[in-house]
Assembly symmetry: C2
Homo-oligomer: 219 residues x 2
DNA sequence: CCAAAAGTGTTCGGTCTACACCCATGA
DNA sequence: TCATGGGTGTAGACCGAACACTTTTGG
């Protein structure tokens, strides 16, 4: 039993995933997803949270950690049978990745590029499923706020959707649309000018999890 | 590694789940979800499909079989550690349950009642999660057609939503709403009067999986 | 003053709700 | 002919897209 984790973030205007360069065979030199075995006294969720912390320093509560798949083909690991539970973690900003633990090289790779590259094991398939899952989650749930810092502006939230969906959204309409959804955003005092222009109001994520209607580009 | 399966259907105007009375301890005499261990040469999905067939005679393709959870608390089975992957199967009509295999008693229990009753192991929690999952799936996907026979009328489909959501839907509006969603329903020749009144047109499920907008009761 | 980003107003067209009404069968 | 459920028409409320416009900052 193992937990593999697809850690996604947005930096430099790009949608990125954290990959590790494998040192040893099998697949030595290839990029792979972070992951590890489940210990005897922990749940699979615990193992995923532990793995996330080891790689990024984020506690589970500071990110959106969600199981999305189970990979159990008997020969997916050439050495022996390993059933893997796969998770996505949506994290706010790539704090410099800690080159600790396994001492392997880690890198935030743009998702587009990672999808083209052949990864170790069946990780290409897992990554593809994870990205599809994340895009759908943004559509139906409030998951997008997990990519933002604790306090964020509506425009920053909009940019998350624009980058993940590769679309353009009308700033004015988006503004009203998200504010009308009760429980999505909670206002906080203060404004910021960190994006230039007129000072923008700050918000935090509200308690709502499922959107009452999809936030998709159009109908 | 085990697969537990929450087999849901609609009969007699009620939302029901297939439960098995356990013969042996632990939890002898209690009701439990069907389930079994994963063999060395199969995937977890295979194990779930096999279990479904053993209990109901349905092939995986004739139902909507979906993984929705992983239960891995180290002490969830008092005998030894068992990590269980949980599935929902939405099936059309309860063909008489085959009292084969384990020779245990099986019963289609109304979901409301099953949720109140204490089940074996952590199966009450699994059932609760499964029902919540199924209700949400009906909202966002075309899953409801899995409860209908191969050819069904729009009113039959409407009744699925009404029963699972415990609501009333306007027949006329529902009719137009689902027909307008491209890929949801495909017309077939012929009509039926099996529900009385004016003959109703027949449809089959189309290729669409995710609805472009939630089919919820109202906004 | 200008550029840039935030946020508001307004118009137009489509969609949903509610409910009236017609249709096609069996009894 | 009536009861029953299938299906269509329609008016009004509501909502979303498009886009013009105002606001508030930094340079």
């Amino acid at each position: 039993m193992a937990a593999d984790i697809v850690i996604l973030t947005i930096t430099g205007g790009e949608f990125r995933v954290l990959l590790i360069e494998r040192g040893k065979d099998p697949f030595g030199g290839r990029l792979a997803l972070p992951g590890g075995f489940v210990e005897a006294d922990e749940t699979v969720d615990d193992a995923a949270a532990r793995e996330l912390f080891e790689e990024t320093g984020f506690e589970a509560g500071e990110s959106l950690l969600e199981r999305f798949g189970v990979y159990s083909e008997p020969d997916r690991d050439p050495r022996r049978r390993v059933v893997s539970v796969a998770y996505t973690a949506l994290v706010p900003e790539p704090p410099q990745t800690r080159a600790g633990g396994d001492a392997a090289e880690t890198a935030w790779v743009p998702v587009e590029r990672a999808l083209e590259e052949p990864l170790a094991f069946d990780h290409s398939r897992i990554l593809g499923d994870a990205v599809a899952h994340a895009r759908r989650r943004l559509e139906y749930t409030t998951a997008a706020t997990a990519f933002c810092p604790k306090e964020f502006t509506i425009a920053e939230l909009r940019r998350v959707y624009e980058i993940v969906w590769r679309t353009r959204l009308d700033p004015g309409n988006f503004h009203r649309k998200v504010l009308r959804i009760e429980g999505f955003l909670e206002p906080v005092d203060g404004t910021t000018v960190r994006n230039g222009g007129r000072p923008a109001a700050l918000y935090t994520a509200g308690p709502l999890e499922w959107l009452p209607l999809p936030l998709s580009p159009a109908r």
